[in-house]
């Protein structure tokens, strides 16, 4: 299948032209091009592949492959794993948790061996979410990377003042962080709140570690969402492939606004796309896939090393993480099935 840019006209006329994708709802683009903020949902066929380039011989290899969950924002269907390696499905108990994995224990993986996960995802921008069964208190414990020091608390106190309404506090801090933090390209960050605050720079994990630490300091529960981000709808080709490495990993947050309301925010994308700064306080462009929730996760069975975030395959040999790019690589291939505009 040849790749081509999905132009505004093709996007609008897709269903009529029989190009394999449909447009529902009203006009979603302006004359200047497709408006990313007005894309309601994207349905994609995803092929996620981990390819082994070389593996240590005669060592126990443990592999954890994250399974994207279905929830109110994303619907996963036709999920299939393809591999010659013996895999274990998530247990029933584990299945009830927010994060799921396929687990493989093996030895002597051949060069070129692949693990492939295929599924269809319909990702929808639904804005603020009502979650009745979610206990907000469980999202008030910072990970080891989200501590707050005097610099952070002073900044929060000064910025927020005497305001007590969670959404207003969240908005003031959102504006403050987006304003003061520089976005960095082509680095693999650790997402440490104190360093992000001091250095005033970083990528998604740094923006969100800092924001999370500030909200928690103010007693506002906030969930870490981890996954990957694909090209924006306005830039997305009908099909494409990205490397699923630390550069393309992406995080965002949902803070508790009181009652059952959880509000999505993406500060780093608000920084990268100033035209979407208002949008990203309460909305997410659906060009993303959530793979897990939380940081410092303990997988099933437990991995040996600390896992900062869990967006892609985690591999250990005799309990030691393999080296990405040297021992293995991950890729995500996508194919647009359908895009819908806001009604």
């Amino acid at each position: 299948m040849s790749e081509f840019n999905l132009s505004r006209r093709e996007f609008l006329m897709g269903s009529l032209a029989g190009a394999g994708f449909l447009l529902a709802g009203e006009r979603v683009s302006s004359d200047a091009g497709l408006n990313d903020a007005q894309v309601k949902s994207i349905t994609l066929k995803i092929t996620y592949t981990t390819e082994f380039l070389r593996c240590p011989k005669d060592e126990e290899i443990d592999i954890w492959l994250p399974i994207p969950p279905s929830d109110m924002e994303q619907e996963i269907t036709d999920l299939k794993i393809e591999t010659k390696l013996p895999y274990r499905k998530p247990s029933k108990e584990y299945d009830q948790k927010q994060n799921k994995v396929f687990y493989i224990k093996t030895k002597n993986i051949n060069k070129g061996e692949k693990l492939t996960l295929r599924y269809t995802i319909k990702r929808t921008n639904i804005g603020t979410v009502e979650l009745k069964d979610e206990d907000p208190q469980q999202h008030l414990t910072p990970s080891e990377w989200e501590k707050w020091d005097n610099g952070i608390t002073q900044y929060v106190d000064t910025t927020v003042g005497k305001v007590t309404e969670p959404a207003v506090i969240a908005r003031k801090l959102y504006d403050g962080i987006v304003e003061r933090t520089t976005y960095m390209h082509k680095i693999c960050t650790r997402g440490v709140s104190t360093l992000a605050f001091e250095e005033k720079s970083g990528r998604s994990d740094d923006f969100h570690a800092l924001y999370r630490s500030m909200l928690m300091y103010k007693g506002i529960p906030v969930k870490w969402q981890q996954g990957t981000i694909l090209p924006y709808p306005s830039e997305m080709k009908k099909s494409g492939r990205i490397e699923a490495d630390c550069i393309n990993a992406h995080s965002w947050l949902m803070f508790h606004a009181g009652g059952n309301r959880w509000v999505p925010v993406d500060l780093s994308e608000a920084k990268r796309r100033p035209d979407l700064k208002e949008f990203y306080f309460g909305n997410l462009v659906p060009n993303r896939i959530r793979m897990s929730t939380g940081r410092g996760l303990t997988l099933e069975p437990p991995q040996k090393e600390i896992l900062n975030t869990f967006a892609y395959t985690n591999v250990e040999a005799d309990g030691i993480p393999l080296i990405y790019g040297h021992n293995y690589k991950n890729f995500i291939q996508y194919e647009i099935v359908k895009m819908e505009g806001q009604n």
Binding site: P56, M184, K186, I187, C188, T189, R190, G191, V192, L195, A196, E198, E199, G202, R203, D206, E243, D245, C246, I247, E305, A317, D318, I320, P321, L322, I323, Y324, G325, H326, N327
Partner: protein
């Protein structure tokens, strides 16, 4: 009035003594890395869990390279550093690797074996080291001259020519 003065003096002396004792017990605070200033040094463990004082290694132009296992670009920089060590000679250039994922020598040993390099590497998953070098991401290369002074810090992927230019810069006597 004399009584008030005596209390004030006693309080001041107590504060000074407390400050002095705190300095004695906690040791000298480690300064953050800064161009033009001495490189922060630490006693760190290598792949055999042997403790090494980095200060003893910075006796010639030195590169301290921060990396970890999940960083794709970092692996490519290891290849460039291996080539630089050959080109400039181990008598003229010291390369020190710090793996910020490693808490002990086990991970370092596996990393060195997989990537096949011989320059020293240390377990760098330590708050004091990460804070002193402000490591919130990798790759980071710190270029240090023979006097132990930081000449430059590069916090992104580096091309071979740029790497060699930095090495030449720290090699000027």
């Amino acid at each position: 009035m004399n009584g008030v003065l005596a209390i004030a003096l006693r309080t001041l002396l107590t504060l000074l003594l407390t400050s002095f004792l705190t300095t004695l017990t906690s040791g000298k605070a480690v300064a953050s890395v800064k161009e033009g200033e001495p490189a922060p040094t630490f006693v760190m463990v290598d792949e055999n869990n042997k403790e090494v004082d980095l200060k003893t290694l910075i006796d010639k132009p030195t590169i301290i390279y921060f990396t970890h296992n999940a960083c794709h670009y970092c692996t490519q920089i290891i290849a460039l550093l291996k080539r630089a060590e050959t080109k400039f000679g181990s008598k003229n250039l010291r390369i020190i690797g710090i793996n910020i994922m490693a808490k002990d020598g086990k991970l370092v040993k596996a990393y060195k074996k997989e990537l096949g390099f011989v320059f020293p590497m240390f377990a760098g998953n330590r708050q004091d080291v990460l804070k002193a070098y402000k490591i919130n991401y990798v790759p980071v290369l710190v270029f240090i001259d023979a006097q132990g002074v930081v000449k430059s810090i590069v916090g992104h992927y580096i091309h071979e020519k740029e790497l060699h230019d930095h090495i030449t810069d720290i090699s000027i006597k």
